[in-house]
C-alpha cells in the first residue's frame, strides 16, 4: 500500500440476490485527489460509492479507510459524508438547520454549531438564504446547501453521487468549477460518481471507468483519452475510430488485416502474427485528403455522410466501403481546403505512431 492511499478496495464483490452488481474491485483512492467513477447506468459505480459510505455491505473483500478495514462499520460511525443525486435535503428544516444537522448529531454546542455553519454558508455564498425553507431555493442554491451540509464537518473524504444531473447545462458547468475549486482549496478527497464524460474529465485528477461491475481502466483523463486500454473504453468515450482484424507480417513490420484494408502497426505494438487485435486512432489524429497522400501507409477510402459544427470544431462522419462509420474531428479552418459535401469521396489516413492496440475485453 502506498503512503498516500486513503481508501483501498481489496477484492470487493457486491451481490444483490443472484445479481452481481460489483465483481472483484481492486483499486485505491489517493489522499487529496479528485477521483471520478464513470460508467453507464447499472455498471456498479453507485454501488461502489454506497459501499464506501457504508450504505451497502460488501458481499466479499475488504474496504480500508486510512488502512483500517471499515466493512462492519455502520454508516453513522464512518466519516464518509455523501451528496445524493436527489440532494436529500431535509424539507422540514431550513437552510441553516440543514447545514447544522451533522454538527448537532456530533454533539457540537449551539454557539459553535452556528459559527461553523455560518462559515460554510458564507463560503458557499448562501448566507442570505439561511432562514429560508428548502422549497424556496433554486436548483443551484440547493446544490450549495447540500455541499455545505456535507462539508461543514470538514471530512477527509466527500462522496458525490451524480449531484449535478438535475441542473441545466449552463449551471452544470458553473457548479463544476465550484466543485473543482472547493476540492483544490480544502484538499478533501472527492469521489465523484457520474455517467457524464464531460463532468468526469473536466474535474477529476483520475478517472475510473466501470462496466458491468468491473473496472475497465483507471488513469488521468489524458491517459484514458489518448490511450483507451480496452475496446469498451474506446467505444464509451466515442472519440476514437476502431479497426479489428488479424495480425500478419507486412513489409518488414506488422499489419492488421481489417475489412477496411491492411493497416500498419507501430513497430512496438507487441503483437505476434496470428493474434486478433483492435486498433484505435483518435478522431483528432485521423486526417483526410482528396488524393492518397504520398508516403502514407494507413489509408482508408471513405465517403462523407454527415457533418457537425460545434463551436470552433467540426466533426465529419464518414463511411468506409464496408459500411463502417468513422469520424474525424478538426478545427474549422483545417477543413477549409477540402470538398466536404455529402457523398464526397475522400481518403482517411493516419500515422502508425498515432494508433495503438486495445484489449478486446
Amino acid at each position: 500500500m502506498q503512503r498516500d492511499t486513503l481508501v483501498s478496495f481489496e477484492g470487493v464483490v457486491k451481490r444483490f440476490g443472484s445479481f452481481v452488481a460489483v465483481q472483484k474491485l481492486d483499486f485505491e483512492i489517493r489522499k487529496g485527489e479528485f477521483l471520478a467513477i464513470m460508467g453507464s447506468s447499472g455498471c456498479g459505480k453507485t454501488t461502489t460509492l454506497r459501499m464506501l459510505a457504508g450504505l451497502e455491505a460488501p458481499s466479499k473483500g475488504v474496504i480500508r479507510l486510512s488502512g483500517k478495514p471499515i466493512n462492519d462499520l455502520p454508516t453513522w460511525s464512518r466519516d464518509t459524508p455523501m451528496v445524493w443525486q436527489s440532494l436529500a435535503l431535509f424539507p422540514f428544516l431550513n437552510v441553516r438547520e440543514n447545514v447544522e444537522f451533522a454538527l448537532k448529531m456530533r454533539g457540537v454546542g449551539k454557539a459553535e454549531r452556528r459559527r461553523r455553519a455560518e462559515q460554510w454558508l458564507e463560503r458557499m455564498q448562501i448566507s442570505e438564504f439561511a432562514d429560508r425553507n428548502i422549497a424556496q431555493l433554486s436548483g443551484g442554491q440547493r446544490q450549495r446547501v447540500a455541499l455545505a451540509r456535507s462539508l461543514v464537518v470538514e471530512p477527509e473524504i466527500l462522496l458525490l453521487d451524480e449531484p449535478l444531473s438535475a441542473l441545466d447545462a449552463a449551471l452544470k458547468v458553473r457548479m463544476q468549477s465550484v466543485l473543482k475549486n472547493l476540492q483544490r482549496e480544502t484538499g478533501i478527497t472527492f469521489v465523484y460518481v457520474t455517467h457524464s464524460q464531460s463532468e468526469a474529465f473536466s474535474m477529476a485528477d483520475r478517472v475510473v471507468i466501470m462496466s458491468r461491475g468491473k473496472i475497465e481502466q483507471i488513469g488521468t483523463p489524458q491517459e484514458i483519452y489518448r490511450t483507451p486500454r480496452t475496446r469498451f473504453v474506446a467505444d464509451f468515450l466515442g472519440s476514437s475510430n476502431l479497426f479489428s482484424g488479424k495480425v500478419r507480417a507486412a513489409g518488414g513490420g506488422l499489419a492488421l488485416d481489417t475489412p477496411a484494408g491492411e493497416l500498419r502497426l507501430a513497430p512496438d505494438a507487441g503483437q505476434t502474427v496470428g493474434d486478433t487485435a483492435t486498433m484505435t486512432v483518435l478522431d483528432t489524429k485521423t486526417h483526410l485528403s482528396v488524393t492518397v497522400p504520398a508516403g502514407a501507409v494507413n489509408v482508408v477510402p471513405v465517403r462523407v455522410i454527415g457533418e457537425e459544427f460545434v463551436g470552433a470544431t467540426a466533426t465529419l462522419y464518414l463511411e468506409t466501403s464496408q459500411g463502417q462509420e468513422i469520424r474525424v474531428q478538426k478545427g474549422h479552418d483545417e477543413f477549409a481546403d477540402l470538398p466536404i459535401g455529402m457523398g464526397q469521396n475522400l481518403y482517411a489516413w493516419w500515422n502508425p505512431e498515432d494508433a495503438h492496440l486495445v484489449a478486446e475485453s
Binding site: S86, A88, F90, F101
Partner: protein, 281 residues
Amino acid sequence: MRRPITLYGLTFSLPLLVWQILFFVFPLLFLVALSFWTVKNFAMRPDFDTVNWTTMYGRAVFWQAYGTTFVLATAASFLTSVLAFPAAYAIAFKLSDTARRWAVFLMVIPFFTSYLVRVYSWQIFLSDSGIINVTLGWVGLGPLPLLNTVGATMIGYLTLSFPLVVLLQLFSLVFIDRTLIEAAHNMRCGRLRTVFAVIIPSARTGLVIAALFCFILSFGDFVSPIYLGGGEPTTLSILITDTTKSGQQWPRAAVIALTMIATLLAVAFVAVKFAYKGKSK
C-alpha cells in the same frame, strides 16, 4: 387558478351537494333553531329563548362532562398515536412488500364487525367474572376491577380508532423519501435518533391527521364510556342521552351537541393548521 363550472362537472358534483344540504346543513340549522325552543309540560314549543344556553352553560355538571370528554379524547389521541406508531413504523420499514400488504389487510378486518359487537366482546374479557379475572383467580389473584373504569373506556377508544390510526400513520410513513433516512444515518444520526429527527418530522402531517381522527371518534363516542366505562365519569355523549330522557329536554341536548360540534371544528382547524405548518409556498 379558477376554472369555469361546466355542466359536466355539475352533473357529478350536484347530487353530493344536494345530499349534503339535505342531510347535513338542514339538520344542523334545525339543531341551532331547536336550541332556542322551550319545553313546557314535557312538550316542545318553537320559540326564541336563550334559556337553554344559559341553563346548560350555568351548570357545573355540563362543564365537568365537557372537561372529562376533552381530557379523555385527548388522552386517547396520544395513547393511540404512541401505541400505533411502532406498529406503523414496523409495517412501513421492516416488512417485505408482500407482508406489508397482509398487514394492511389485517388492519382493515376489524372494520368488518360492528364496533358495538367488539365493545361487548371486551366485556367478556373485562367483567368481574370475565376471562381475565377468572384466569387471575386460578393463580390466586384478583378479581381486579376492570370493567366500568376509565381504563376500560380507554380500551374502547383504542378499539375504535387503533386500526384507522395505524393505517393513516402507515400511509404517511411509506411516502417518506428513503434517501432522507440514509442521509441522516450518513450524518451520524443513529437509528432511534433518526426516528425523532427525520421520520416523525417528515410524516408530521399524517401523524397529526391520524391523531385528529382518533380525537374526533373518541370525543363523540357513546358506546365505550357507557358499556365499558359504566357511565362514570359522565361524558358529553352520555349527558345528551340523559338530558333527552329527563323531561324531553331536546333543546338542551341541542346546546350540548352544538357545543361539541364547535369544539370539534376548532380542534380540527388547529390540528390541520399545525399539520401543514410551513408547508405552504
